[in-house]
Structure formats: C-alpha cells, structure tokens
Amino acid sequence: MSVGLLFDATRCIGCEACSAACKEQNGLPLPIEPETTAYTFTTVSQREGLNVRSLCMHCLEPTCVSVCPVGALSKTAQGPVVYDAKKCIGCRYCIMACPFGVPKYQWDRAVPVVGKCTLCSDRVAAGLATACATVCPTGATMFGERDALVAEARARIDASPGQYVDHVYGVEEAGGTSVLMLSSVPFERLGLATDLPRQPLPMLTWQVLSKVPDFVALAGAFLYGVFWITRRREAVEEARRTEGGGPR
C-alpha cells in the first residue's frame, strides 16, 4: 500500500493553489519562488504551452536516501521520501546526486538544512491526501495508491491517444518514482530528465561498496603474506650470513 501523485500537465491551469497549499502545510515563508528552493518545495511553470509542476519525485529506490552518510533521508513504508533535519551534517551529497535535481539548500543561513517536498508524510500517515492534491481545482494533481495511479494514467492515454505522449513519466525512470506525470509534449521539452537509466542509481555505488568486506579480507591476507615472505627471505639471508648459525 504505497501512495503517490499523478500530475496531468494537460489539466493544469497554472493557478498555483498547490504551491500555496504547500507553503501553508509546511509553514514556509512567501513568496512562491519561480524555481524550487529550500523555501519553495513545489512550483508551476509554463513550458511549450503547458503548465508543469516541479517537485520531488519520491523515487521507489531514492538516490538521495542511498547517498546520505548519516541516513537523514529515508523512504517511509507508505511512499514519501522524508528528511530528518536533526541528523543532517550539510555535506550536500544528496543535492549533488539527485538525478532530478530536487533537494535544495538554505545557503543564506548560518545553520542551514535541506528543503524538499515530503509528500506531506504527516498528512499521508493520518490518512489524508497531500496538501497540493487536496486543493487542486482541476484534479491535475491526483493523490492515491501508486498502482491505481499508473493504471489511471494508462487508461487516459488509451482513451485519448492523440492527446498524450505515449509514456507515463515515472514508471521506469531511475527505477520508478511515486510521482507520475502525463504530458501532451515530449517530456524533455518540459525540462524533465529523460536520459536516466531504468535501473535505480544506488546500484551503481552498491556494486562497489558491497565488495569492500571481501576486499579487506583478501588485501589483509595478501599484504600479510608479502610481509611474511620478505621476512622469511631476510631471515634466511641473515642465517646464511652468520655462517651456519641457528635460525635468526
């Protein structure tokens, strides 16, 4: 039972009710900035005649969660990728690594934290929909179970094939995301990343990290072996030099 959002760009009228609700829900200061920042978790912008939302994609296997050295980011069982500001040391690896460019930083603060959409995890835990989905007047942003949303998105494409690009963004990208999108123009023209692998990115570093224990064991054995051999050689030479004297 994992939730998500379906954003249908063809239904968005750019009213920014979602941004306003997000500000209120998270207690963020106004104004709503043109691009997402640590103080504006979601924005709407016009591209190619469509209105497009920018927000955290809440990946199924989040890159940010895997790179955080102190585990400040985590994906709850219900789906939202949440941030624990109390653990964060400010290394900004999450900002560097996120393929969607989502996490943002409070560069202006002496005690800064990361800011990003949290899929209203508190509301979701209480059985409510996200703030943005609750207020969206056209239903462009829809909240629900991810599987149901994927099915709904597919159904819309099948029902009106000329109206949509034949692709539900977020089903496969970076291993799949909880936030899905539909569009009538190709997604890269909306500014969305389309060169992402279908495999979750954390696999790329886990492939290397998972070999560390083996490496430590093998290297330790090898290096000790080298040491032992060279010591033996030295001891043998020493014995030979002392002309038939005992070992060492």
Partner: protein
C-alpha cells in the same frame, strides 16, 4: 652577518609576511563563513553544491597524501629497506594532508559541528559514509605511525616498545584503509552518470582514482624531499628517488592507457576530436599531467637529474590536481548549465590552510626527529637508551 645569511633572512622575511597575510585572511574569512553562512562566502549554489573545497581540498588533499601508504608498504611489507629514511617525512606530510582535509571539511559542511554524526548515525550503503569512516580511521593510523617520532623526542621507551609491536599490523591496516578511500572518492561520482561528462565518467572511476593516487603519492615524495632539502639545506637523495621516478613511469603509463581505453568504451573519443571546453581541459590534464611526465621520466638523463626529476614529479602532481578538479568541477558544469569559479574567500581558505600545513611541517621538522640526521643526533650513544633508535622502526 654575511651577504648569504642576510639574503636568507630577508627571503625568510618575505615569506613570513606572505604567511602572516594569508593567516589574517584565513581568520577573517572564517569569521564570515560561520556568521553569514555558505551563500555569503562561496559561489556554491543548488545547481553547483560542490566546488573548490571538495574538488581541491578534499579530493586532492587525500590523494596527495597517498605517498604514505605507498612508501610504508614498500618499506615495511615489501621490505625495500633503502627507502626507510624518507618514510618519516612522507608520513608526516600525509598526516598533515589529512588534517588539512578534515579542517577544510569543517569549512565546507553546512553544519560542521555535527561532523561526528557519521560515528553514530550509520548508512553503510553510502559511499560518503565509507569515506568518512576511512578518513577518520586512517588519520588515526597516521597519527599512530608518527607517534614513535614523538616518543623518541621525549625518550618514552615504554610506548616505543609498544609501537614496535603493532607497527606491521598498523601498516597493513593503513594500506587497506588508504586503498579503500582513495578509490571511494572516485566512487562518489559513480552515482551521477547523467551529470558527469563522459570524458571523465567511467564505471571504473574508483580504480582510476586509486592508481592516479599512487602516481601522485610517488611524485609527492619527490617534491617533499626537494622542498625539505631547500629549506633545511639538505641534498636530495637521488639514489632513493630515481627508482621512484621509474615507478612513476609504470604507474602513470598504465593509468594513461586505462583512461584512453575508458574513452573508447564510453564512446567519448568523438568528444575529444570536436573542439570544445571539456575536450581542451581533458587534453591539458592528460597531456601535461600524464603523457609529458611519462615521456620525461623514461629518459635516464632527466630521471637522474635533480631538476628533471622534480619538474616531472611536479607535472604529475599538476595532472593529478587537474584530474580531480576536472571531475569535480569541469565535468559537472555542462549538466549544471553553468560555469563555476570559486569566490576569493574560498580560495583564501584553501591557500591559507595549505600555508598553515607548510608551517606546521616546518615546525615539526625542526623540533621532532623527522629527518635521518636529526634522528641520529637524538640517539646519543653515551645514554643507555633501550636499544639503538633507528630512523624508523623495523617491524
């Protein structure tokens, strides 16, 4: 006061002024950094969250201290004893290098007072977590490897005996730790295949970082010996350093070949032929920093001359620094949609910290038995010291 002495004094005076200025700048920028935050003091932003302090201070600082693990394994594990005299200064350089990295991190982290969090909050799936632990542990190992020097200075026989017992396991642990995090600094960038430019991205990044660290470490040993020689009026031990020059040919040669093969596998060769910013930076890095030193050091005449060896080592280190900066900055600029240049305050911190490192090295070399002659002077033959104290401990 003779003319030579007077000249040396004024030369020292000039550098003292430079150092004082850098220190002053460092203190001022530190105050700004911690009162006004990162945005006010750096050119970092959401689009470019990592800059000079990561690309140079962390990536280069850690790599340049690789001379220690290379040399300690060569001397104590592969038992090539003749390099023993340069182990101590190399380990000191490495220790100061890692201290430099940690202090630089205190500037770069958004909440540096939480730097200890990695000890308590674990995420073993994170490369950064592994780097943090390895750096902490290896800095400890380096401190322990240096402790005999301090014990010697203060004639602490008991601790010296203790260290002698654990020295070999210490060296083995040090080599393992150093290999792990030299390579995991490269692994940090495995996670951004869509962002790092194909001229530098490779699934073998950790391996490349490790090999280039060995090459740079060897170069650092040469340069550090040369600089210490100039400062303390000692001549370069050419019979020791020339073989290192030969080793550099092999290491850098293999590394260069691997990078070329990586380009072929990436399909990035076409990028090289088309003129462009990234292509130029790549050619500069590999041409000046890999091809040229390999060519120069393979010529015995150059390798056996002090100037030739030092110049080639310098080029190799330059190439290493360029590689790390290209990975951290140049290679990330296209995806970020912007060019990054550090602010003067970022530069002031990096340069200031390097200057402090030099000063601490000079102080340590003057007051601790880092160099072989000083060690011999410390071991006064008439005193009943427990056993002769060599320049470094045999295992």
């Amino acid at each position: 006061m003779t003319g030579a002495t007077a000249r040396r004094f004024t030369r020292l005076g000039f550098w003292a002024y430079v150092f004082a200025l850098l220190l002053l700048l460092l203190v001022g920028v530190t105050a700004l950094r911690f009162s006004r935050g990162l945005g006010a003091t750096t050119n970092l932003s959401d689009r470019f969250p990592w800059g000079l302090w990561i690309g140079f201070d962390v990536l280069c600082g850690v790599g340049l201290a690789a001379g220690a693990f290379t040399l300690t394994s060569v001397v104590h594990l592969f038992n090539l004893r003749r390099f023993e005299p340069i182990v101590r200064p190399t380990v000191l350089t490495a220790f100061l290098g890692y201290a430099f990295v940690i202090v630089a991190l205190l500037f770069d982290l958004g909440q540096p007072w939480r730097i200890w969090h990695a000890l308590v909050f674990w995420n073993p799936r994170s490369v950064m977590f592994e780097v943090a632990w390895c750096v902490m542990l290896y800095t400890t190992v380096l401190a322990l490897e240096l402790s005999p020097v301090v014990f010697e200075r203060f004639r602490l026989a008991g601790p010296q005996r203790l260290m002698r017992g654990v020295y070999t396991p210490l060296v083995i642990v040090g080599v393992i730790l150093s290999t792990l995090h030299q390579s995991s600094l490269g692994s940090l960038y495995l996670i951004v295949p869509s962002k790092l430019h194909p001229l530098w991205y490779s699934p073998l990044l950790p391996f490349y970082f490790f090999i280039s660290a060995i090459g740079a470490g060897l170069g650092m040993v040469v340069i550090e010996s040369h600089l210490s020689g100039r400062a303390f009026g000692r001549r370069l031990e050419m019979h020791l350093l020339e073989p290192l020059g030969r080793a550099m040919v092999v290491v850098l040669g293999v590394y260069g070949l691997l990078r070329f093969l990586a380009l072929r596998r990436n399909g990035a060769l076409a990028e090289l032929l088309a003129p462009g910013y990234e292509a130029s930076m790549f050619l500069l890095e590999v041409g000046l920093g890999v091809v040229l030193p390999v060519v120069l050091l393979s010529l015995p005449r150059i390798r056996r001359s002090e100037r030739g060896l030092v110049a080639s080592a310098f080029l190799a280190i330059l190439g290493f620094v360029m590689n790390r900066l290209n990975v951290a900055v140049t290679g990330m600029e296209r995806a970020a949609g912007m060019r990054y240049l550090p602010s003067w305050m970022e530069v002031a911190v990096s340069v200031g910290l390097v200057a402090v490192g030099f000063a601490v090295f000079a102080l340590a070399a003057r007051h601790l038995p880092i160099f072989p002659e000083a060690a011999e002077a410390a071991a006064e033959p008439d005193e009943e010291a427990p056993g002769a104290i060599p320049a470094s401990l045999p295992a």
